[in-house]
């Protein structure tokens, strides 16, 4: 058996003295789509930041294709083929759309042209500054920018949050296409239905611990309990 693309084992993360992650473990195989569910403040973003080296964990190991990357700087981890669409989208306000498609791009299957086919709306905005885009356009651009690093794994910390229904549709469609192309994904979102339709496996995080991990049928088999874990 080959090593998972990303493997997180017994992750403990802190903000100063406050202990936020209490031994989070999971793995993502090549081409797999894993979703990460949980109410606000349960540690989804912290898990992602820890795995990517933005908030180095105090304890635990992160491996990419079997190699420990704990302690590496974020750009080195990213260069192993992981790209982030962060909470808040992380658009550069003073760069144009066109520049976003170039600034961190690495060669590979995804070209600027292909991302513009995925999100045609961006084509009309090529000369527009990031700060002037709508929320939906920013999210599309953030995804396009991530894809242009030609990653094997895309991490979306909030796929459609705060966006209009039509834009959400467009983004879920894009994520299905990614999945069909064999790009692995870790997807955080509030839309449980959409996550269940998209993901191969699902995690529910409660107060920094994994409270559920399983496939879509397994999730549905205990839907009541899981929904209770997610209810605000």
């Amino acid at each position: 058996m080959t090593a998972p693309l990303l493997e997180v084992e017994d992750l403990h993360a802190y903000y100063g003295e406050s202990h936020v992650l209490h031994g989070v473990s999971f793995s993502i195989a090549e081409g797999e789509t894993l979703t990460l569910m949980g109410r606000n403040g349960m540690g989804k973003t912290t898990t992602i930041r820890s795995a990517l080296g933005l908030l180095p964990p105090r304890r635990g190991v992160v491996r990419v294709r079997g190699h420990a990357v704990t302690g590496l700087r974020p750009h080195s981890i990213a260069q192993l083929g992981i790209a982030l669409v962060p909470e808040g989208r992380g658009i550069f306000p003073t760069l144009t759309v066109r520049e976003h498609l170039v600034v961190t791009a690495r060669p590979g299957r995804w070209t600027a042209e292909r991302t513009l086919e995925l999100f045609p709306r961006l084509r009309e905005r090529l000369g527009t500054l990031g700060a002037q885009l709508s929320g939906g356009e920013q999210q599309m651009l953030s995804i396009a920018r991530a894809l242009l690093t030609n990653p094997d794994l895309v991490i979306l910390d909030g796929a459609t949050e705060g966006l209009a229904p039509l834009v959400r549709q467009e983004i879920w469609t894009a994520l299905r296409r990614l999945r069909a192309e064999g790009t692995a994904a870790l997807v955080v979102d509030k839309e449980v239905k959409a996550l269940l339709a998209l993901g191969d496996r699902h995690l529910i995080l409660v107060k920094g611990r994994i409270a559920f991990a399983g496939t879509t049928p397994q999730w549905r088999a205990r839907a009541e309990e899981n929904l209770a874990l997610l209810r605000a």
Binding site: R73, H75, A78, P86, G90, T94, R145, T149
Partner: protein, 292 residues
């Protein structure tokens, strides 16, 4: 004031402003991109001037001195960033001021130790020792034309790098969200080190070019530092375009101030700064808060 005198002062002002731009552009970049308030920036100007003096004495040519000196200062800037400035990125402005002011004292002592307290003249290159006649009495030195044109070329080059290359994109992206760059695979530490050492080399180049005009002496960086901060504030913090127009404005205002109101000339640039800030509180090209 005769027309030719006005023209002469205008040319001098522009020339002084262009030299100032070389210093201020680095200062504004280091603050805008790295977030470091760098009090040692004037010292790099001074070190450039001393290096030009020393190398010109040995090679017999200021041109050689510049060609050798700029790469040396690039390297020196890289070392200073790695050894000292890199420790400041997570710190507040007070720590930054303390450490970089410490560097100022260090570099001043170092230059005194090596070159004494004397004022050292640097010869204008023979090829550029002539001058152009402006009307009946006035003339403008060819060397000033040369420095002006050199600075203009560098300004255009800088504009191209910042607006037209991927390095420039990353630099602008890093100014607003360095973490995002890092997590998409860009080595931000390396980017910052490059920006810092480029800033050092630009300031040093200004010092080298200015050396024949101002002579070389200990502490010559301080007044340049203060005036560069004025330029950065006028232009808008982090804006290289702002530094360009701010520097021209300050250069011209300073030159005319010295001629028209000699008794209060040192206050003129601050009056200009105050006027600009009343008109545009963030400076000429300062980004609004939400875009930073």
């Amino acid at each position: 004031m005769t027309l030719s005198l006005v023209a002469l002062q205008l040319l001098n002002g522009v020339e002084q402003g262009l030299l100032l731009f070389l210093v201020a552009s680095g200062l504004t970049l280091v603050f805008g991109v790295l977030g470091v308030l760098n009090f040692a920036h004037g010292s790099f100007y001074m070190l450039g001037a001393y290096l030009a003096f020393w190398l010109a004495e040995r090679t017999g040519s200021l041109l050689f001195a510049v060609l050798l000196g700029v790469p040396l200062m690039l390297l020196f800037g890289f070392l200073v960033e790695r050894l000292a400035v890199a420790r400041l990125y997570q710190r507040d402005h007070l720590s930054q001021v303390l450490l970089t002011y410490g560097l100022v004292l260090l570099f001043n002592e170092l230059s005194r130790l090596l070159f004494g307290n004397d004022v050292h003249p640097v010869a204008t290159p023979a090829l550029l020792s002539g001058s152009f006649k402006l009307g009946e009495v006035q003339s403008w030195p060819a060397y000033r034309l040369f420095t002006s044109l050199s600075c203009l070329v560098i300004a255009l080059l800088l504009r191209y790098v910042i607006l037209g290359t991927r390095f420039g994109m990353r630099l602008r992206a890093g100014a607003s969200n360095a973490e995002m760059l890092e997590v998409l695979g860009v080595d931000v530490r390396k980017l910052f080190a490059r920006v810092f050492s480029a800033g050092v080399a630009l300031a040093a180049l200004a010092g080298m070019l200015a050396a024949p005009l101002t002579t070389v002496y200990p502490g010559m960086g301080e007044s340049v530092l203060v005036i560069s901060f004025v330029v950065v504030v006028i232009g808008g913090i982090g804006s290289v375009r702002g530094a360009f127009f701010g520097a021209l404005l300050v250069g011209i205002a300073d030159t005319f101030g010295k001629v028209l109101v000699p008794s209060v000339s040192s206050a003129v640039v601050y009056a200009v700064m105050a006027a600009v800030l009343i008109w545009r509180p963030r400076g000429l090209f300062g980004a609004p808060a939400e875009a930073r």
